[in-house]
């Protein structure tokens, strides 16, 4: 079984390659990267701390739940651990499915869960080498059968997604 937590740089192309499937008509690749600022403050880098043993297991469970919920052909999630520079890849979600709708929905669901459901902590490095823990939320471990998406919020993301959903349902 391939590891889902990586101490080395993640190659998104490899993750993409690993989910390619001749039965799939759509593949979605989401790549999360380290931004150069947070709340208007310049960020110099990041450090992820991971409870590896638990995260590996929980991510495997999420993948399994997603496979049961959507007709996904293949799914691969990889999250970084350790020190990262601005611009580096922090997380990759690759999903192949028969149709694009399921691939988008499953990938969207997976990245939302990665934000809130795994024992991962993030320290941001600011100018002068000062580190601060990014604000988190108590770990949420609800089953994958729970509603796929949180209610669209007043953000561009929610709007885009709602539009996507209505297309799917139409």
């Amino acid at each position: 079984m391939k590891s889902r937590i990586s101490r080395k740089p993640i190659d998104p192309a490899k993750a993409l390659e690993s989910v390619m499937d001749e039965d799939a008509g759509g593949v979605v690749l989401f790549v999360g990267t380290i931004r150069n600022q947070t709340n208007g403050k310049k960020v110099k880098g990041l450090e992820y701390e991971v409870y590896r043993r638990m995260a590996e297991r929980e991510i495997a469970k999420l993948e399994e739940g997603i496979r049961k919920r959507w007709p996904v052909k293949s799914i691969r999630l990889v999250h970084r651990e350790g020190k990262l520079e601005v611009g580096e890849v922090s997380v990759v979600v690759a999903v192949s499915a028969v149709h694009r709708e399921e691939a988008f929905e499953a990938a969207w669901y997976a990245i939302d869960r990665i934000k809130e459901s795994f024992p991962i902590w993030k320290r941001e490095k600011f100018r002068g080498g000062r580190y601060a823990w990014a604000k988190g939320n108590p770990i949420q471990n609800y089953p994958v059968s729970a509603p796929a998406m949180r209610e669209p919020q007043a953000s561009s993301r929610g709007t885009v997604h709602r539009r996507k959903r209505s297309l799917v349902e139409a």
């Binding site: 409870y51 999250h79 993030k122 988190g136």
Partner: protein
């Protein structure tokens, strides 16, 4: 007596000043007993008490769960991945 492994992450690791340690506890001790001992040993952990979730052998657990020899009790501050 039983021995359990305490594991601290992120802010909890910093507050405890260690990544982990072993506690000897009475048989039939609960997660709560282990937590009380941790807070006693590391008073700096106390402000985190309300926000922390606890994992027993890598599964989120409740304070009344019973412990056995070799269990791993991890203190998990609020998380954020991605």
């Amino acid at each position: 007596m039983i021995r359990v492994k305490m594991i601290y992450f992120a802010q909890a690791r910093e507050a405890a000043g260690t990544k982990g340690e072993e506690f000897s506890l009475d048989k039939q001790s609960s997660v709560k007993t282990a937590l009380s001992k941790a807070f006693e040993a590391h008073p700096k952990l106390r402000p985190l008490e309300k926000s922390i979730k606890v994992a027993l052998n890598e599964e989120i657990t409740q304070e009344d769960a019973r412990l056995k020899e070799g269990d791993r009790v991890a203190l998990l501050p609020p998380v954020v991945g991605g």
